[in-house]
């Protein structure tokens, strides 16, 4: 069986996650070896996923951590000053 390009595109995501059945994976690999367009689509998709997973894409705003921990400290302080309640369970 020979796969057409548009069928190969349906498998790209699962191919990247390595979750295709072995026979399908082999058919896709065979197609990729001979098709520069599908190879470029696969490579670009893989590359984009490498970039999206990089921590630098979304950076924390300046002072975020300090503000967060200050807010948590107030909450923790309030919880500590409440009299112990009997367990709700």
């Amino acid at each position: 069986m020979v796969l057409e390009c548009k069928h190969v595109w349906d498998y790209i995501s699962e191919f990247l996650d390595d979750s295709l059945p072995a026979e399908t994976k082999e058919l896709v690999q065979k197609h990729l070896a001979n098709c520069e367009i599908c190879s470029a689509i696969l490579d670009s998709t893989r590359n984009i996923l490498i970039l999206t997973a990089d921590d630098r894409v979304f950076e924390l705003p300046a002072g975020y951590s300090e503000r967060l921990h200050a807010r948590l400290a107030r909450e923790i302080h309030a919880a500590n000053s409440r009299p112990e309640k009997p367990s709700e369970e």
Partner: protein
């Protein structure tokens, strides 16, 4: 980097200590997740100030509900689910936000096709030092409708497994795979031509020196 198993054990100990009254340890428990929670929030509310609010609310809610954390999932997954709920709650409040796409049935949608390229030159991750490249990636994720954005952020930004993504969103593994496929192709379609162009411009620029 600590392996996942030992991190989970450390976290279980921290959580037990916090619940026993050593609440200050919550600062340490959440430290590794400051960025994950923030970018999860930012992918939904699109405004840095509001994303920070959502993140703070999520951390506070997790603190108050910590007694309900049963350790069946990882703490990180539980925290991400709380953040997702908080972000969705905000979105629902903003009546101006278009929400119809949340009801869209992803399985019935039209076929998505990738951008066709003949060659692809790897965009090195150093390119992320450039604001332009970071903005392109952020925008492409924002352009996805919520059902696709959710799977992409969980799976491809937060790097949860397909199973964890399904659990967090309370949808089937099959639905995650279908949405993920469509979302990734949509990202490729929007981003590949732009990244290629941004990269080519950069190379030209460098070659002048």
């Amino acid at each position: 980097m600590a392996d996942a198993g030992s991190r989970q054990r450390d976290e279980a100990q921290l959580i037990a200590a916090i619940l026993a009254g050593n609440r200050e340890l919550y600062h340490r428990l959440i430290q590794p997740y400051e960025l994950s929670v923030y970018r999860m929030a930012l992918s939904f509310v699109k405004d840095e100030t509001e994303a920070e609010d959502v993140a703070q609310e999520a951390f506070l809610k997790a603190f108050r509900d910590l007694g309900n954390f049963r350790g069946e999932s990882k703490f990180s997954t539980w925290l991400i689910a709380i953040t997702l709920n908080e972000a969705r709650r905000r979105l629902r409040r903003q009546t101006t936000v278009r929400m119809e796409s949340l009801d869209e049935d992803p399985e019935s949608g039209g076929k998505v096709s990738p951008a066709l390229l003949r060659d692809w030159r790897e965009i090195p991750s150093e390119a992320l030092e450039r604001r332009e490249i970071r903005a392109l990636l952020q925008e492409a994720i924002e352009h996805l409708s919520p059902i696709y954005r959710e799977v992409v952020v969980l799976r491809d930004v937060e790097e949860l497994s397909v199973e964890e993504t399904a659990g967090t969103l309370a949808i089937s593994i099959a639905a995650v795979k279908v949405r993920l496929h469509r979302a990734r192709i949509m990202l490729q379609k929007e981003l590949a031509p732009k990244l290629k162009l941004a990269n080519a411009k950069r190379r030209r620029w460098l070659s002048w020196y």
